[in-house]
């Protein structure tokens, strides 16, 4: 799923899911990133649940598709349907809300269990403009993130802090993962070459089949 076109095309297509409890600011985060607007009456998009962004990172084109998910507890069980085949996940919590951080931990466990290490995880403490009401300590969040192989970011959608960095970093990491995957495929070159030949047999031979069909029907 990492690369759109196989050979020749250098455009990466990534799917990123946004997970987190309701009201932690998932939507504000993407809207700020894609529209650079916050709580604005003039936001032109009809919706903020599926957004795309085109990036150019070190000369490589990247198409980012950001999938928002419903954060209400009763939809939690639907998670796997959303994060299937995604390259990255952004797990958002509210730094003033200890509970939302616990939810993030649950998500991490689930994602690692279902998708292994192929998915790039970002844990995001949002609303740092409300630092005076902080209920999740920086040390705890960062050490936890490190322990599960995720990167931790602090953002504020309101003040537009840390968001560009978050997405840029994530893209770079996803590109690395995709390239590593390609290399791994390249190492088994003989394997893939033979399988490719197999494919070509499949789609070249049918030309012979109609002839056979005609003979037997006639």
């Amino acid at each position: 799923m990492a690369t759109a076109g196989a050979a020749g095309s250098r455009t990466y297509s990534f799917k990123v899911v946004l997970l987190g409890e309701g009201c932690v600011g998932k939507t504000s985060l993407v809207l700020r990133y894609c529209e650079n607007k916050f709580n604005d009456k003039h936001i032109t998009t009809l919706q903020a649940s599926f957004l795309t962004k085109k990036l150019n990172i070190t000369g490589k084109r990247v198409n980012l598709a950001i999938w928002d998910t419903a954060g209400q507890e009763r939809f939690h069980a639907l998670g796997p349907i959303y994060y299937r085949d995604s390259n990255g996940a952004i797990l958002v919590y509210d730094i003033t809300d200890e509970d939302s951080f616990q939810k993030v931990k649950n998500w991490v466990k689930e994602l690692r269990k279902m998708l292994g290490n192929e998915i790039c995880l970002c844990i995001v403490g949002n609303k740092i403009d409300l630092d005076k009401d902080r209920n999740v300590s920086v040390e705890e969040a960062e050490s936890y993130s490190e322990s599960v192989g995720a990167k931790h970011y602090h953002t504020s959608a309101k003040l537009n802090k840390g968001i560009e960095e978050l997405f840029l970093d994530l893209c770079k990491r996803m590109m690395e993962t995709a390239q590593a995957e390609e290399r791994a495929k390249g190492n088994g070159a003989s394997q893939s070459a033979s399988s490719r030949r197999g494919v070509q047999i499949v789609d070249d031979e049918p030309q012979a089949t109609p002839a056979g069909g005609c003979c037997s029907s006639g």
Binding site: A70, F75, G198, V202
Partner: protein, 505 residues
């Protein structure tokens, strides 16, 4: 759905390449893993069986028709019997592989698909010929699609011909694989998509737009042709699932917009208009044949939901708003053959569209909505288990518990209208109708008085004319003025007429 990830890679083992009959020659996936010789034997055998089956079926149909004809003379209501007999063979013909035991369910399916019924009628005359071929499935629709496809490929010149050849070969190939399971069929189609897309990428030098364009057309062409045999096939339990979800949604008819916490205010006319459009779109999905067109219906439905939320909340809809709203729409619409459609799209849609695009996102949400509806319980609606049970069993209804619990009669109607948007709409419409009625009466009255006016006017005109005639009677006085006329040629006042003179010559 989960097998999608495995499908991406194509694993070919050395042993897989050999003929499955174990004759030692290399086999071929196009021949179901057999070598050319074994395949020919196998194919002949299957074909013979198919031909025999077809004959048997044709005979059976003949018999049944005769029976129906005979019974139509003895049964008291001959018309309905004849009508029944005429319908039954058609539906049976299309589903000729349907076993007797599943027949009952198939009729239910037929009931939900008027399109397939009509087209099967169209096919029936051709159907008498026992040789099975793809062309038999061709109806007007598919012909049109084929024409469009050829037209489109013409612009591509040589590669276009190649693509067309590939597609034809693939369809041929598929027509011999009808007995495979749905997952195998899906795999065949997906493999075809992938190999074609790879080749196209090579050809177009990585211009993903042109590749996509061609792939869309290929999908349209192939799936229109395959639709009948691969949509809700007998080998799966799609149909059972369809009925299950249909019953489930019907049982949940009492779920209100408040229970789902949907941020749409249906009191606003624009919102309710969008809701209706969304419902229409999601229902329309079933009528499309190409997976991409079905996806487009879901996308249109989603856009209407977004508009409705946007109007209500005046801010862009997030997934937190969208998913509950979609669930509400699905509950209200109860779209026909929902599971079959979802399975069909998952199995046969071009994967690049389904996985990353906007359409894919909305489709995923629809899958989520269906999953939620299937698992929905008291907790997910913030109800107590007892309440939930009572609503499910139909002993109580949340709609009327607020308004004294009985059905609205005329006087109460206004009170209920506040709680129920449908009733509000009804009352509104009734008002409109009574307004129209009184206006109609006014128009009739005016017309009658106009008629009376017209009558009296013509009378008065006649009277006036008569009066004037009486007052000024017509007198004809002889006039002294002479006029040139043939009758008074001899008038003495006139000079003598000129006589023609003859000149010499």
């Amino acid at each position: 759905m989960s097998q999608r990830t495995e499908r991406r890679g194509i694993h070919v083992d050395q042993s897989d390449l050999l003929c499955k009959k174990g004759c030692g020659y290399y086999g071929n996936a196009a021949w179901q893993g057999l070598c050319s010789k074994c395949w020919r034997e196998e194919y002949q055998r299957v074909r013979q069986k198919q031909i025999q089956d077809d004959w048997a079926l044709a005979e059976k149909l003949q018999r049944e028709e005769e029976e129906a004809y005979a019974s139509s003379h003895s049964v008291r209501d001959p018309q309905s019997a004849a009508g029944h007999a005429a319908l039954a063979p058609f539906s049976k013909f299309e589903e000729k592989k349907t076993n007797e035991k599943t027949r009952k369910v198939t009729t239910v399916k037929k009931f939900f698909s008027p399109s397939s019924r009509t087209s099967s009628k169209k096919e029936s005359p051709e159907g008498k010929t026992p040789s099975p071929s793809i062309s038999r499935h061709a109806s007007f629709d598919t012909d049109q699609v084929s024409k469009d496809f050829v037209e489109f490929l013409k612009n591509l010149h040589k590669p276009g011909r190649e693509i067309h050849k590939q597609c034809r070969a693939f369809l041929m190939n598929m027509s011999s694989k009808k007995d495979l399971g749905a997952d195998e069929l899906s795999e065949c189609v997906q493999d075809f998509y992938q190999s074609l897309a790879d080749r196209l990428t090579g050809h177009f030098k990585g211009s993903s737009e042109s590749v996509e364009q061609v792939m869309d057309q290929v999908e349209k062409y192939i799936m229109t042709r395959l639709y009948k045999s691969v949509f809700c096939p007998e080998t799966t339990d799609d149909e059972k699932k369809d009925l299950a979800i249909q019953h489930r949604i019907r049982a949940l008819h009492w779920v209100t917009i408040q229970m789902l916490c949907v941020s749409m205010d249906e009191e606003i006319p624009e919102v309710s208009e969008n809701v209706l459009k969304a419902i229409t779109d999601v229902i329309e999905m079933d009528s499309k044949r190409v997976p991409r067109d079905k996806l487009a219906c879901i996308t249109r439905c989603s856009k209407h939901i977004f508009s409705a939320i946007r109007i209500t909340k005046n801010e862009p809809a997030s997934a937190d708003d969208f998913l509950p709203a979609l669930i509400y729409i699905v509950l209200k619409a109860n779209p026909p053959r929902l599971q079959s459609n979802i399975q069909y799209i998952t199995r046969f849609c071009n994967p690049s569209r389904l996985m990353t695009g906007e359409d894919g996102y909305y489709f995923t949400n629809l899958c989520c909505a269906v999953a939620f509806i299937e698992k929905l319980d008291a907790q997910s609606l913030n109800l107590s288990p007892e309440e939930f049970e009572r609503y499910m069993s139909g002993q109580a209804s949340p709609r009327f518990s607020s308004s004294d619990g009985d059905w609205p009669d005329g006087a109460q109607g206004v009170g209920v209208a506040v709680t129920n948007p449908a009733l509000a709409q009804l009352n509104h419409n009734l008002e409109l109708l009574s307004g129209l009625c009184s206006r109609q009466e006014a128009v009739m009255e005016a017309a009658q008085s106009l008629q009376a006016d017209l009558l009296s006017w013509s009378e008065s005109v006649q009277r006036e004319v008569r009066d004037i005639l009486e007052k000024y009677p017509l007198e004809i006085k002889s006039s002294k003025v002479s006029a040139i006329d043939t009758n008074n040629v001899d008038n003495e006042n006139l000079p003598s007429p000129i006589k023609p003179q003859v000149f010499a010559g």
